[in-house]
Amino acid sequence: MYDYSDFDESFVRARVAQFSDQVARRLDGSLTEDEFRPLRLMNGLYLQLHAYMLRVAIPYGTLNPHQMRQLAHIADTYDKGYGHFTTRQNIQFNWPKLPEVPAILTALADVQMHAIQTSGNCVRNVTADHFAGAAADEIEDPRPYAELLRQWSTDHPEFQFLPRKFKIAITGSPNDRAVTKAHDIGLRMVRNAAGEPGFEVMVGGGLGRTPMIAFTVRDFLPVADLLPYVEAVLSVYNILGRRDNKYKARIKITVHETGRDEIARMIEERFTEMRPQFGGADQALLDDIRAAFAPPAFRNAPTDAYDLAYKADPVFRAWADTNLAAHRNDQYSIVTISVKAHGATPGDASSDQMRLMADLAETYGHNDLRISHEQNVILPHVHKSDLPVIHAALQKAGLATANVGLISDIIACPGMDYCALATARSIPVAQELALRFDALDLEHDIGPLKLKISGCINACGHHHVGHIGILGLDRAGVENYQITLGGDGTETASIGEKTGPGFAYDEIVDAIERIIRAYLEVRSHKEETFLQTYRRLGLTPFKAALYGAEDGRDAA
């Protein structure tokens, strides 16, 4: 993976020193909170419901074991022994104390990590396919491009005060695992007629209060044009984007108000101006970065141990069937470690679990770990013969739940258990749902299903693109949960449709069960997924299951 250059190292150290001084001045009263707040946010430090929260960037979701152990160390030393992996491939610590934040940032810098640009109206952590560099269906590893974008966007003088935050997602596969169509810029690698790799560039996607699927501004962008093109998009947005209304400031609204054809014309025009200014330095840099992402030295060895365990052990087989994905090397597998034990908090890992995952990556996984936007941890390169021993180790740590891609593999934002913006809780709803479907022993029968929960309209839990989405709201001083169906975050992206009136906290789990029972009833055959059934039949059978035949029910 990429190692910091001397420039990166001194930049991050300088920011730690600068912020340490700012914290000291806040604590001695030389800075007011109004002065300090934007400074702490630039360094990823929020004030939440019960405590401060530090959001640490995990660039394109890639970590090495040394970094994972340092996160565990920070969790033990400065927090309550755990961390929360987020839908933007970041990790959040929920209980840091302000005077100790400089020490945490120093500990992060010691392992080439930081919390810069994890808040504020700038380009945020660039997210990527969590199977990057390993997936069988991949054209090219997207992470060198993500790293190039990270270096270009970090402290970019023109883009530190954009109209609003700006999120870029990238995938090297035609099959989109990075929700690229719900980002300000989505980049999906494709090949042109000549077989050359390039990017489909999508602009103006986003969730939140006005969910929109991105539109394709360029079907095929040669990879060498990536930076000037992204810079063209940013500079058009920086001029056109609305600064008068926070709720209309994201590029999706700019696209909507300007019109697709017009904004595409402006981007292309700006690109024509920008392109000659990139004299090739970016391509030289990209070549250096590429070398850092060279594939590991794959072992050539028999996979009999895997085949034997798969035949003999039904628990291992169930886990292998759900938690493994196809690797480009057929002796290898991609392991998704479920951080979604039934009844546990989605995305929370204890320091012991972090250390175990680091050890497994070091011993069996070519020193590579990934965080997915679905809040799980990935070992991208595991030789199949090592899978039984990895599974056994994960079992002992409560990390062997065989539910990846199933109904209990729930995305949930922190919700009103932590977040100052939340309007309702998400975590306990996720916990109850996972326990319910586990108790019913139904989830393997239900099959692939993405259930996503957000605790407010900002949609950190991606509920709009869940096959089943749940949005927690405050309705007249009571938690109320609105359901959407038919959302999809892949290359066939769509925004879910509201079913009707919402449900109270103590009704929502039953309501979801009614939807699932209706699906099991009406699916054409066992292989028809929930999303396929929904696309065939629409809302009708599910509304009937939720609200009764007369389709009339008062809002809770």
Partner: protein, 102 residues
């Protein structure tokens, strides 16, 4: 003459720890909602909020939250404020355990 005023407490977060705090009638910042001053009159509420806003070495983000009188002191009326008196529901962290030995 005066409209019925929903009683309030002044609440904020501790500057150093971030923990939820409440302004008491004797100008302390308490961790306990029940020790808060229950403010039943709008002008007084604004005076107390201004007093709180000046305590910038102690607290962050003071605001007025709806409350009601209870047998042991003021109680929250909205679920968000009720959560702030306890901590998160997924772990025994925050006030629900930290205050056990207060």
């Amino acid at each position: 003459m005066s409209r019925k005023y929903t009683p309030k407490v002044v609440t904020a977060n501790d500057l150093r720890i971030g923990d939820v705090v409440y302004l008491t009638a004797d100008n302390r910042w308490s961790r306990l909602h029940a020790e808060a001053e229950l403010i039943c009159e709008e002008d007084h509420a604004n005076t107390r909020l201004a007093f709180a806003a000046a305590q910038r070495l102690a607290i962050v983000g003071p605001y007025l939250a709806d409350a009601k009188a209870g047998p042991n002191g003021p109680e929250p009326t909205h679920f968000r404020e009720a959560f702030r008196t306890r901590g998160p529901s997924n772990y025994a962290h925050g006030k629900q355990v930290d205050l056990a030995d207060v």
